[in-house]
Symmetry: C2
Subunit: 374 residues, 2 copies
């Protein structure tokens, strides 16, 4: 183990990371795992290399890495010299920590980098995760983990062989409103969950973007945002779908020549009935609502980077908004330094891909489909 | 034609009936067809015989018939002497207008009765509609119209042969919030509807009630309350489902030995994706929301006898609550006296039964099902 990491393990507590403590203003107290932890000294933070400097990296992740308490931005990977230059200036990065896709593998020798964060189009997640693992780095990979379950398995294997952690960017699992909902579900605050209605969709702009390209995106809104609704059903119930039905609607076969446009799907998860929706064709739903034996709770809007609001039959679910990316990255850094259990390992991403594949199969075949198991 | 009716036609206006004008307090004005009409003199109102004096008749329909402007309660049909006696006193009915199920057919000679309103368990709708038509009466029948499309066709045929109107009790089609939503859909106030998410379910009590008996109810929550969500999808879009998928969950096979417990289904209706839910197992959804090209609108709660609330991306949809039963009965009476078009004829009930049958078939088979056409 990296001696820098070993050293830190000695004085860090065993608790989940959160960059900012979120104050509670609704009827429920903060989720239990929320602890306001002190920031590490800068030279003890883990170094993160960002691979892919698109809008998510630019507008969310890089700013989050200025707030993180256990990790910091130490390197970038981009094929665009102008971006390299801009980022180098903005984040004070020296040339030896700036890579392109040709030189990427040299990151193995860059001791400033502990974690490679893959923020590329979905179709490139597998390649760069495998290469990062081979370079001896821990890998944090954006969702969806990859464009197929086959790729997910390759990524898990590569990180396992390299003895490196693989985390998936399911930021909502670190967000206080979502965490409180998980707690409400688990503690049966409203009794058993009987039904979940969940969806996430938006009207996509530029028809030339990679999200509409099957090879790069792997699929359309289901892979991109519908996955949040699926995640909610899974982390609220703790169950997996037994049977899935799905209906696809396509109104613009030119724009959506390669990927689905609008999908509605149902999942039977044990005794819970789930009804989900996703789209790229209009500004649709952004929520989940769980109906239970003795009441209901949910979030709407649920999945944005901020502005999350919750309500329940007992009153509002309200906390201060936190930086989701800072929270998930600090948790990942903590798991590396503390050897604690990763909340969202590669297996979590693989499980979702197996379900997404079953949803696509159900939509294409018109048959109720049982997802393949891990 | 009944001379009483012919006489009335002379001085009644050609407009839809509403017992109480509903004031608008939201951002939208009253639905266009809303006109506050004067009540007819009592002796010019059409006479209604109520068949089946259960809680719906007792708590909703009989009180509504005290508010109606074009019809009034003139006879009752019940197999329970105690109920006959109570109702006779309460509504001042003389013995010659009180029937049981043996003497029912004598209603043919009862000139005080123009309309027979069938409020029996679903499994008895067909028999009493056919008998009422044979007795020469117009028939107003509660939803669901019957327990099968075969029965619906028999009912339509019987009324057609008897040259009598057959109306189905889809009260929401006479409620101002629902009517405004139909207008918003039709005028494309928010652009084309792309998706509807709708559901209605509640936790049913007494396990011995007829609603859980297949022979009397024909089915469970789908027939009883899910039908409201189906209706909303149909009257908002003006379209019929092309393809349906469905998932059933049963957690209490004793209580729900004969009928379904919880159903989630999807419908592709032209270019509109619909996602619907119903249950008898918990207090679930009571809403519809339509997501459009340029905004959204919906009602929640949507289907109760009162307390209906609407919202949209342009602001609230709010009107004074009206008596749904009075409104639909006055419309039915008007269609009889004025010869105007019935909004919800038997064909509307048949169409729903064909779709309900397809939903059941989809749930049982795990296949996407195209409903049979009328």
């Amino acid at each position: 183990m990296n001696p820098k990491i070993e050293n830190r393990r000695a004085f860090l507590h065993q608790s989940a990371a959160l960059s900012t403590a979120a104050a509670a203003t609704g009827v429920f107290g903060l989720p239990e795992l929320y602890a306001n932890q002190p920031a590490l000294p800068d030279d003890e933070k883990l170094g993160v290399a960002l691979v892919g400097l698109g809008s998510l990296s630019t507008n969310q992740i890089a700013p989050a890495l200025q707030k993180t308490k256990r990790c910091k931005l130490t390197a970038i990977v981009s094929g665009t010299p102008a971006k390299q230059e801009k980022w180098a200036k903005q984040y004070d990065l020296t040339p030896e920590h700036i890579y392109d896709y040709e030189t990427f593998d040299k990151i193995a020798e860059d001791e400033s980098v502990d974690i490679v964060y893959v923020v590329l189009p979905n179709g490139m997640h597998c390649e760069y995760t495998v290469r990062a693992a081979k370079a001896g780095k821990h890998v944090f990979c954006e969702k969806p983990m990859a464009i197929s379950s086959v790729e997910c398995r390759q990524m898990i294997d590569a990180c396992r062989k390299a003895e490196r952690l693989l985390g998936i960017g399911y930021r909502c699992q670190f967000e206080p409103h979502h965490l409180k909902c998980m707690e409400l579900a688990k503690s049966k605050e409203f009794g058993e969950i009987k039904e979940i209605i969940a969806g996430f969709g938006f009207k996509i702009g530029d028809p030339k973007q990679w999200r509409l390209n099957k090879k790069l995106a792997g699929g359309g809104p289901l892979m991109d945002v519908g996955i949040y609704a699926l995640q909610a059903c899974r982390y609220l119930t703790g169950l997996e779908p037994d049977l899935i039905t799905a209906t696809e609607t396509k109104t613009d076969p030119v724009k959506f020549a390669e990927v689905e446009e609008t999908l509605a799907w149902t999942m039977k998860m044990g005794d819970v009935t789930c009804s989900c929706n996703t789209t790229y064709a209009f500004n649709g739903v952004n929520n989940f609502h769980a109906y239970c034996d003795n009441g209901n709770f949910g979030l709407e809007p649920a999945y944005g980077y901020g502005g999350i609001k919750g309500k329940s039959s007992k009153g509002p679910i309200e906390f201060e908004q936190v930086d989701h990316f800072a929270a998930e990255l600090d948790h990942f850094a903590e798991c590396i330094t503390e050897g604690t259990e990763l909340k969202v390992p590669g297996e979590e991403g693989l499980q979702d891909l197996l379900i997404l594949e079953a949803i696509f199969k159900a939509a294409e075949s018109g048959l109720a489909v049982k997802p393949e198991s891990m």
